[in-house]
Structures are given as structure tokens and as C-alpha cells.
Symmetry: none
Subunit: 216 residues, 4 copies
DNA sequence: CATGAATGAGCATTCATTCAT
DNA sequence: AATGAATGAATGCTCATTCAT
């Protein structure tokens, strides 16, 4: 069925639609994963139902379980997929960097680029939840990405003997700055990755006075 | 809590809060609120069920609704309670501060103190939930507290004409730093609010070089 | 408490309000009964909650059970109360009547008068339910009243040897006509009990041609 | 029923109603509808729970919602199904009739036939519920059927210029007579639709004297 | 008696997951 | 594989009723 042509009757596959019924096992797997990423990003892991996810692919609900053992498993898959895509890029940055400053700028830019790509891949503009406790949408990928970021930063710090600071706190600060500024950046038009990265990196490296001035 | 009104059908019978009955009602109300704070902190708002909350108090499930109209209402109560306790402290900081640096240090310390108090109030060892996809637990209070923090920071920045920076990004950075360092601080023994606040404020004001050095 | 003065805080006792807290046991009993009649008439027996009823009296919910053992019992009380008030009037009609025609007119007028009084006593304009299956509101009294009516009619018929018709069907017809025309009558302004009774009685006694003509 | 659409997630897979699956689905749908009709007839719409309904089919409770979106929807389905089956028959009567008398007889017979068929479809011995306060059981179909009947009668009356009577009252009377006599008829053995219809129509058209005599 | 908080069964509905086709 | 109907536990919430005060 998934291999035949789509039927007009199928009401699933709305808007963001990865829709259309995929053509084979690999594509189905991808389609489900993408749909899950979308749905998690839109309404969060808890609020997302397996039906929400599978409905977007045009597949039947039972089919979900041919590809993923559970809702939990697909969340894990999304998380580790993101982490694994980010990891080599981070490593490259680490290896290419000559000093901590350069590394920091590089890593922040890489992270910003990554979340921009993710967002574009989703064809989704990130938004705060409509439902009550107006919280940040929970993406399974987010925690994984930050873990990745964290360990990369810590690794670099550990090998830099000139850095006599509290590594855990500094890492935390970098992550906090990246996360929050990254989110604001995504909401702005036009997109300015470099500007945001410069702001973040300068703030961390040289503090408030070093941060770019704006027109009065 | 602080600002939702009781739902008992008829608030007559002996003033409002004297007898053993009224006493007990207040205790139950507190017990439910505390239980809710705990459960939300442990598994997040969405995953928490009203039965989870009430179960912790030993009360019957219907009793929950004698005190709060819905799961959403108790979340709101928790959030606004936290916000309202934080607000005057933030305002005091704002009014007492002579320059941005002083203000920033003050506000960060206030925030750290606040989350320390909250944590103790929860009798809960904060744990980055070992649940499904490791997402950051969503606490109704957290969003409210950060909103409060954000508007306090923006208010101060707006009136400081020397601050020619991107206010939104700077606010985001402050919040990110406070949030992440605050969380690490909570996990450490012994508790060192001043150290953490000094780290965070120095980083933002003067950057990495200004941050306290550690022993090699 | 019910004996002290009413408190401004009490939000119960809306609109139709028999409200005010009754002054003693008998009055409380009456107040609850009246409130129940109102609520049943407004939203029907099933949809009515004991809290709806007691709320209208300003009494506490537990107090309901000092007067009636259950929601079912108060419905029964209302029903039999209505029946017992109607019974002697019907008997008087029966005893005063000389022929079936006179009796029929009398009994229909009595019934119409009764439902008018009931309606006025309720300060309620009868209305079809808002909730979905748009059904006739179910009043516990209605069935009882019709039973009363039915047995009165059957009693008269049984003793009238000239009436060689299917008594059960004729009774049913009288009841059907009375019920439906009575309901339409209640909705009209100005109230015209005699007109409605004449219509109903003439129709039954002499059929369509005997029914009052209207202006063209 | 007749006119609500299925809710299955994807109506593809083999046309619409051929295989054993589709067969079974239709049977379940019918079974649920029938069960609902029974339960509504026995204890009324309000008192009926979805579990009461689904329990009678042996299906699991969640399954109900594979077929109907809510308790309200199935009530609507039952009501409109009945109305839509009755409507064309009533229209045929209207169009075939040459005078009001003929029309009236026809319409009453049609209604009686209809409730007889319905009753058989229910496999239920109609019982004036021995429930709490003896209220007339509220069937979603009943209101719909009477609305249908009412508008058919009013339509005919409006176009008959010789009928100078209070149309609303006359309609009410017809409905009252049909409803009550119909109900008694259902309780009798053997079933005699024509006798009941003759009684009702004659009573309305020519009054008590015209009604069939019985043996002394 | 009156009060109103507490109770817990019950309700409509959702949802992850299973499994016959 | 894919399907989608079936499942039944779980959820938020209501309500008649009880009972300590």
C-alpha cells in the first residue's frame, strides 16, 4: 500500500507534510523520523502522539512499530542522530583550532549553523507552546546536542593548561549563552549567524565592553 | 498558594482561618501545592498526572479539586507564586543599584538565592530526570521566574543610556548564564552562592579573563 | 449557621433564588424542595446535581442529606407532592360533574391551571434544553401528574356505561392532547387557559370541525 | 449511521467495503449503533454511559471511539438516521393525500408503522423504565421523529385554506394523540396498527362519538 | 442540626501498542 | 512489510454521599 500511488482520500499529510507515502523501507524510516522531528518540535515530546507522527507520513499507525519499537525509541533515535551529525563537525573545529578564543568562536558558529539547518530541514518556525504552562518546546535532540557541545568544550578546556578556571561553570556559561542567544537568533529576520556568534563569543571572551555596539 | 482563592462551597462558618478545620484545610492546600511542585520538578508538567500529585499527599483523588480547579490551575498557582515572591526582591535590587555592574551582580545573586530556597522547599534532590528522552524538566515556576528576571533586566537596560548593545541578546545571555550556572551550583556541595554569582557576573561584565582562577 | 444572617460572600442563590438561608427545619425542607423543583425544571433530573440544588438555598451540601436521603428521594417527594396536590382537585371535578363532556372540560382546565400555577411558583419559563439531544426537560412531577390524571379519567370512564370505547386509548389520547397543548399554552402570551381548554376538550369530544375557528 | 462518516485513519486499502475486515467493521458499527439505541431506550440518553453501550457489544471501551467521536455524536446519528428514514415516507403521504382527513390517517399509520419497526429493531421490550423518578425515557430518535412529524403536519395545514384553526394547537394535539396511543399500542398483543390508527384519526377528525365502539 | 472537606467510584475520552488480515 | 481495527490502561474531572467538627 505504501508503495502504490497516493490516494486523494488521505487526509493526513497536512501543511508541513513530508507526506506522500514513502517508496521503500529506508524512505519510510526516514519519513517517520522526519515527521517525528517535526511533531516534537511543534508540540513537544510529551504532547506528541504516535498518531500525530505517523499521520504526517500517510502510513498506517501500525507501521510505525515496524520501524521503531516505541515513541521513546524514536525520540532516542532523533537525539542520537542529531548528536552524531554534530559530533564530527565539533571535532573538526577542535582539531583546527589553535587557541581557545578561536575554538570558542568556531564552536558557537557551528552550533548556530546546526540549529539553523535543523530548523530549515523542518520547514518549521520554532514557537512557544500554545498550551498552558507556556514552556519552551522540548525536543529530544536538544539535550543530546547540548551534551555533545558540553563534552567538546570540556575536552578542549582540559587540554588547555592556561585555562585556570572552573571548567564546569565555564562550560555551563557557554552553553547557556549559546542556547539562549541561538533561540533569539532563530526568531529574527534576516538571519544573522555571524552577528549572533560574534556577540556570544565576544561576551564570553572579553565581557560586556567587547560586545558589538548598536546605533543609538 | 499565595494567590488563588479557596474553592470551598461556602466560606462562612467561623471567620476564615482559625478552627482545626481551617487549619487542616490550609495544611492540605500546602501539601497539595508542595506535592505538585515536587512532581512537576521530577517528571515535568506534561507527564505529571493529578493522581501522581494527590497520591503523594495521601488524600483521595477528588480532593485535589476541592483545592484547585484543574491541573493547569495549580501549575499557574505555582508559577505566579514564585514570580510574585521573586518580583519585590528584584525590584529592590533594581532600586538599590547605582550602576549596571552592581545591579547585575545583585540580580544574579538574588536569583541563585531564590532557586536555592526553592530547592530546599521541594525536599527534592534535583536530578536531570533519568526519564525517556533526557529533556530538561519543565517546571511551571521556571518559565515564570525567567520571565520575571527577563523583564527586570530589560527594564534596567532600557534606562541605562550608556548601554549601547543589543538588549535582547544581552538579556538572553544573562539568563542563559544564570540558568546554567545556577543549575550546576545546586548540584555542588558545599553550596556556594557567592562564588557562583561572582563567576557569572564577572564573566558577563569583563569576560573570561576576569573570571576567578582556580588552583592548578 | 443557617439560622444566622446571610453572608455577602455566598455566591450560590442566583437569579431564581429561593435563597437566603431558611429560618428553621420546615423552611429548610421547603427551600430545598423548591430549589430542586427549579433545577429539575431547568436542566432535568439527570443533569441536575445535588450541589446545584443545595447551592440555590445557601445551605451547605451536607445539609441536603439531613432532609432527603438522596437525589432520588427528593425527586420522589416532588412527584408525590404534586400528585397529592392535584388529587383532591381532580376528585372534586369528578364528583361535581354530571356528564362526561362536562367532566372532561373540567379536568382539562384543572390540569392547565395546575401547570400554570406550578410554572408561576417556579418563576421559571419552561424551555427546551440547551444541551444536545434537544429533549423535553424531565420533571419528576410530570409522570406523577399524568398518572394522577390517568387514573382519574379511567375512574370516570369506568362508571359511565354509555362510553363504549377503548378506555385505555381514550385516556391516552386525552393525556396526549392535554400534555402537548398545555405545553404550547404555557409558551403563549397572554395566557389563555380557557381558550386552550376549549380547544382541547372540543377536539376530543366532537373532533376537528368543532374546534374554535380563527380569523382568516 | 446512515450519514455519519467512518473515522478510521486511512480509508484506502481495498476500496471501501468488500473484505472480511470491512465486513466486520460494518457489523461493529451496526452493533454499536443498535446497542446505543437499546441503552438510550432503556435508561435514557443522559443516564446512558458509553461503557453501557460498548459493554453490550463485547468490544473494548476504546473501540467505541473508532466509530463515533462521542456519545453526543452517536445520539445525533441515531436521531438523524430515524428522521431521514421517516422523512420520505411522510413526504409520500403528503403528496398522495387529497384531503386533510386522508392525509391525517395516512400520517398516523405511517408513524405507528415506524415505531413498530423501530421497536423490533431494538429487540427490546419497551418498558416504562422502573428507574428512579419515573420519567419518560428520552430517546434521541424520538425528538427527531416528532420534529419531522410536526413539520410535515404544519406543512399540510398551511396549504389547506379550509383549515381555519389554530395550527399550532392542532399539530400539538395530533402529536400528543399519536405519541400516547402509539405507546399503548406497542404494549398490546396482538399488534393492531390499523385499529390504533383508526382510533386516533377518528378521534381527531370527528371526536369521541366517531371513535370505534367496543363490545360491552 | 449545619457545615463543608473528604471520599472514591464513575465518566468521557485518549493513546501507545498489538495483531489478524 | 503495511494495514488499521481492537485493546485496555490511564487521564482529567464530576458527583452523590459521608462524617468529623
Amino acid at each position: 500500500m505504501a508503495h502504490s500511488t497516493p490516494r486523494g482520500e488521505n487526509p493526513g499529510a497536512g501543511a508541513a507534510g513530508s507526506g506522500k507515502r514513502a517508496q521503500n523501507k529506508l524512505e519510510n524510516r526516514r519519513a517517520i523520523l522526519t515527521a517525528a522531528r517535526e511533531v516534537f518540535a511543534e508540540i513537544g515530546y510529551e504532547a506528541a502522539s504516535v498518531r500525530d507522527i505517523i499521520g504526517r507520513t500517510g502510513l498506517a499507525s501500525g507501521t510505525f512499530y515496524n520501524y521503531y519499537r516505541s515513541k521513546e525509541e524514536i525520540a532516542r533515535a532523533i537525539a542520537s542522530d542529531a548528536a552524531e551529525r554534530l559530533r564530527p563537525i565539533l571535532r573538526a573545529q577542535r582539531e583546527g583550532a589553535t587557541d581557545f578564543a578561536g575554538y570558542l568562536i568556531g564552536i558557537i558558529r557551528v552550533y548556530f549553523q546546526f540549529i539553523v539547518d535543523e530548523q530549515l530541514a523542518l520547514h518549521t518556525t520554532r514557537q512557544l507552546a500554545e498550551r498552558y504552562p507556556r514552556v519552551r518546546i522540548q525536543t529530544p535532540a536538544a539535550a543530546a546536542v547540548f551534551d555533545e557541545l558540553r563534552s567538546s568544550i570540556e575536552f578542549v578546556m582540559q587540554r588547555d593548561p592556561g585555562l585556570r578556571v572552573d571548567v564546569e561553570y565555564l562550560t555551563a556559561a557557554v552553553i547557556g549563552v549559546a542556547r539562549e542567544i541561538g533561540e533569539r537568533m532563530l526568531a529574527r529576520q534576516p538571519l544573522d549567524i555571524d552577528g549572533a556568534a560574534a556577540f556570544a563569543a565576544n561576551l564570553i571572551l572579553r565581557g560586556l565592553p567587547a560586545v558589538p555596539r548598536v546605533e543609538p
